[in-house]
Amino acid sequence: MSDKPLLRITNIDVFHGTFQALWDVSVEIIRGETLALIGANTSGKTTLLDTISGLLHPAKGTIEFEGKDIAWLDPYQIVELGITQVPEGRRIFPDMSVLDNLLIGSYNGSARSKKSQNLEKVYQHFPRLQERRKQIAKTLSGGEQQMLAIGRGLMADPKLMLIDEMSLGLAPIVIDELFKALEQIKERGITILFVEQNVRRTLKEADRAYILETGRVALSGTATELCEEDRVKKAYFGVEVCGV
């Protein structure tokens, strides 16, 4: 595999109508790593994820996945290639059962044949989903819904998983549980790109991180490097808290 990146985003500009949300953004993800994307609310993190997923297309620049240009593919084609997104706000299908939500995750052609193995793995990560598989999804608690959303993403048999604001609005205990699951998922060889507002926690869990500010990459580096960076300390921690 050498050091050839799994996903390489080069100098992209992305617009929402006439509003430019991303400016000349370049990001690389190496196979097997856990990469964090950090930034304030309107910094363009979700826009970047949606562009990778094919919901938006860049006006300029390229996006390569395993050496193939994917910038102009439709979302369903991108899922088929092995990129899945766990969207912000979970967005499970509220009136379907837990099991049906998971099965929908394996809708794409290549994942459908492996659906029983993948279902078993999801149940290993989140035993609670197996207990509740017949329950209607909207009756789950917030943490369980997030587990369902991640499980549904895993059903697509991804190589790269994009996770948007996983810990938003959840209790610390639940967040711990979710990060533990992410570690197991990573051990299975799935590359993870996750977006968080909780910077401390993020830098603890990730190998590397990019910091976005108003649609531009402000900083990037390994988690330890970023912790040392004065600008990060000032902007996000007030005082130094890294390494705690």
Binding site: E80, T84, F93, D95, L103, I104, Y107
Partner: protein, 287 residues
Amino acid sequence: MGSGDIITPLVMGILLGGLYALIALGLSMVFGVMRLINLAHGDLVILGSYGGYALMTLLGLDPIVGLVISIPLMFLLGFAIQKYLMGRAFGISSEAPLIIAFGISLVLQNANQILWTPLSRALNTSYSNLSFSIGLRQFPLTYLLDFTAGIIVMLALRAFLIHTYLGKAITAASQDKKAAQLMGINTKRVYGYAFAIAMISAAIAGVFLGMTFPFTPTSGVSFLTIAFGTVIIGGLGSMLGTFIGGIILGIVQTLGGYFFGPASQMLIVYVIVLVVLAIRPQGLFGR
């Protein structure tokens, strides 16, 4: 009127309600999945009736047997309408799909007018005038066929939505389009299938409608209103709710006729629809 026997109108209403449900199922499905009010639905149902009429007069096929030919054609037409017209209209503005549906309705009505003249037609078969009896009361056999077809189509659609991958994808896309896309569902294609499947039910509805009532190129509008009433009472998007809505509407109509005279039965239906809309716009069984 009103010689004391309320059973006859009640049974007639239930059976008629099966036909109304059959007509409304496609409308309900298209609304539930795409949030599209298909104003051309009545005309597409009538197109199904003319399809049955054409096959009957030209090839001598029984209208129900003729469905073997008309169903695939309507399926393709539905897929094409969604792909080339409605799908694009969604990107334009919120009123564009509604206006396009109006345009389709205009084209269908007048194409039928040119092809078949404005004369009233009917699908008359050897069994059209037969009847069956419950006790001493006689009922037209076609009404029983309508009801049976309504139940079968409703159950088939329900089973399709619950048990097949495509059905689940349609349901998922109707609940959250963005999430469905992120799960690898090609929503454009799924919408095409949803519209095409709604057209299958329209083809079936058209044939049974034509065996029960005479129809003209402009009949679509009144059946559209009935279908709206059914769907509004039952709640948009739910197959079972739509079926129950049809039965309620059928009973309201026949009992309205029984108590207030046959002339006012449709007026009572419309008043009930407006009242339900005002009180519970999401329908009696809607979420």
